[in-house]
């Protein structure tokens, strides 16, 4: 309880310092806005619904893209883990591709799909799917052999074995991959939206720049951070914690 209070006090102090710097008028207002100005821009943005539309458009894209990469990523990860040959051929190149910043897929997406939604979807999927499939494959390989032995003596085979034992056994690792995949997907979506796609939060950010409205720029950044943190910590973080606890794993 005390820690929450202390933390709030610290945030308040930081905001105070920001306001103080603003009052000192070291920089012109169009380069260094006040926190109140940003708050005002945030409120106007929500009041005239531009932010709401931006959030909705971006969320729709991320849900679709992230959902697709979850499906493809897990399916591909299971294949990697169960086919040794595939893993030997593709394991190393996949690790390499994961280090490619996902926005680097954009030119390819643009050439393949043109200047449209499908190009941005492609970038989001490529950004998240590699982490998810590598984590899935890793999770399957690290399932305690005793679970597999127990399952096979009880007659688990084929698809039932996958659904009943292998997927749940790999779940802690899959969720970790989902967290990583989420941060890649969210970043690449914002980058993609800034570069060309209309509407969406990334686009609002660029619009702020074009209008020379630094308060809007920072307000949109706040919204982007907020969404990223809420999904990472509250949604995926809680899920990860619950799973690790139930699976009897210590929390990282």
């Amino acid at each position: 309880m005390i820690r929450h209070v202390e933390r709030l006090a610290l945030y308040a102090a930081l905001l105070g310092l920001w306001e103080l710097l603003f009052r000192l008028e070291l920089w012109p207002e169009y380069l260094f806005p006040s926190p109140l100005g940003v708050l005002e821009s945030l409120l106007t943005g929500f009041a005239n619904k531009t932010f709401l539309v931006g959030i909705l458009v971006s969320m729709k894209r991320i849900l679709l893209g992230y959902g697709l990469s979850l499906v493809f990523g897990v399916a591909f990860g299971l294949m990697l883990a169960s086919m040794k040959l595939l893993d030997e051929f593709l394991g190393a190149p996949l690790l390499g591709l994961r280090t490619l910043p996902s926005i680097c897929w954009l030119p390819l997406g643009l050439l393949w799909f043109g200047l449209n939604e499908r190009a941005i979807l492609f970038v989001v999927v490529m950004g998240a799917a590699f982490s998810i499939s590598l984590a899935t494959a890793d999770g399957v390989r690290n399932i305690s052999p005793i679970y597999l032995k127990a399952a096979s003596t009880m007659g688990a085979r084929g698809i039932r074995k996958y659904i009943g034992v292998i997927l749940p056994g790999a779940l802690p690792s899959i969720v970790t991959g989902m967290k990583l995949g989420w941060s890649f997907a969210w970043r690449s979506l914002m980058a993609g939206e800034m570069l060309f796609v209309s509407l969406g939060l990334g686009h609002l950010l660029m619009m702020g720049r074009e209008l020379n409205d630094i308060r809007q720029v920072i307000a949109v950044m706040v919204v982007i951070v907020a969404i990223g943190v809420v999904v990472d910590r509250l949604v995926l973080g809680t899920l990860e914690e619950r799973i690790r606890e139930r699976w009897g794993l210590e929390n990282p």
């Binding site: 032995k149 749940p168 699976w247």
Partner: protein, 260 residues
């Protein structure tokens, strides 16, 4: 006559060349018999169980058969119970017990009542909705027992199931296992490194030698049941077997120390 092993050997290929874990194991177990294997660690006790379970293949000339038909792979007629942590943590207690039934495609409406019945047998009905991480070690092994028995196997293969439990819990589980065995009358093959535990449970106790594992001697235990670990005659019998086993343990120690 139910389970027959003839000339069963097992060689593991390792980086340092082949290692013979088992050599010419020969024995048979009758239906409903309780047989315990003891031996020093590394003597291949668990390998015998894994071979019977069909999880490992013995060397080519070996034969393992149940009621006359050869063992080809794992099957729900032989359920293995492990030392620990073989329950699925993503399922609650009752779903763990139901797992084998669902894999056998048992009719849905019969699954739950049957699972409840076996959970009652191990006195864990109250914990049907708990998750595995909420249970003590002894409770987990009771769930494992229920999960194994519910699929109605021909035999139970138990691989040091009580060795990570504290003394009191182990004593209580030894009683429970004897009670359950006297009711259901299944064949049980039980592997342990604890002589008293073996004498407490087995109709026969088979002593294995150290690497490679061979059958050194077999003892028939005719003490009245249920048996308790502290019982005088049980301790006497255990000491007798201990003499035999100690030779083997010393051999292992000598080998492990003498190699360097």
């Amino acid at each position: 006559m139910e389970l027959v092993l003839r000339n069963v050997s097992k060689t593991f290929r390792t980086a340092n060349g082949p290692i013979k874990a088992l050599e010419d194991i020969d024995f048979q177990v009758d239906t409903g018999e309780f047989v315990c294997f003891i031996g020093p660690s590394g003597c291949g006790k668990s390998t015998v169980l894994n071979i019977i379970a069909g999880l490992e293949k013995p060397d080519p000339h070996s034969t393992v058969s149940i009621d006359g038909s050869p063992v080809e792979g794992p099957g729900p007629d032989r359920i293995l119970i492990f030392q620990q942590d073989a329950l699925f943590p993503w399922l609650n207690v009752i779903n763990n017990v139901e797992f084998g039934l669902k894999m056998k495609k048992f009719p849905n409406e019969k699954v739950r009542p049957l699972a409840e019945e076996f959970l009652r047998m191990v006195h864990l009905s109250r914990f049907r909705n708990s998750y595995i991480h909420e249970l003590s070690g002894g409770m987990r092994q009771r769930v494992a027992l229920a999960r194994a028995l519910v699929v109605n196997p021909k035999m139970l293969l138990m691989d040091e199931p009580f060795s990570s439990l504290d003394a009191q819990t182990r004593e209580r589980l030894l009683m429970l296992l004897q009670t359950i065995w006297s009711i259901i009358g299944k064949t049980i093959i039980f592997v342990t490194h604890n002589i008293r535990e073996a004498v407490c449970l087995g109709d026969r106790v088979i002593v294995l030698t150290a690497s490679p594992g061979r059958i050194k001697r077999e003892f028939r235990i005719d003490l009245p049941r249920p048996r308790r670990l502290g019982d005088g005659r049980l301790v006497e019998t255990s000491n007798l077997i201990m003499g035999d086993l100690k030779e083997e343990i010393d051999k292992v120690v000598r080998e492990e120390m003498g190699d360097d």
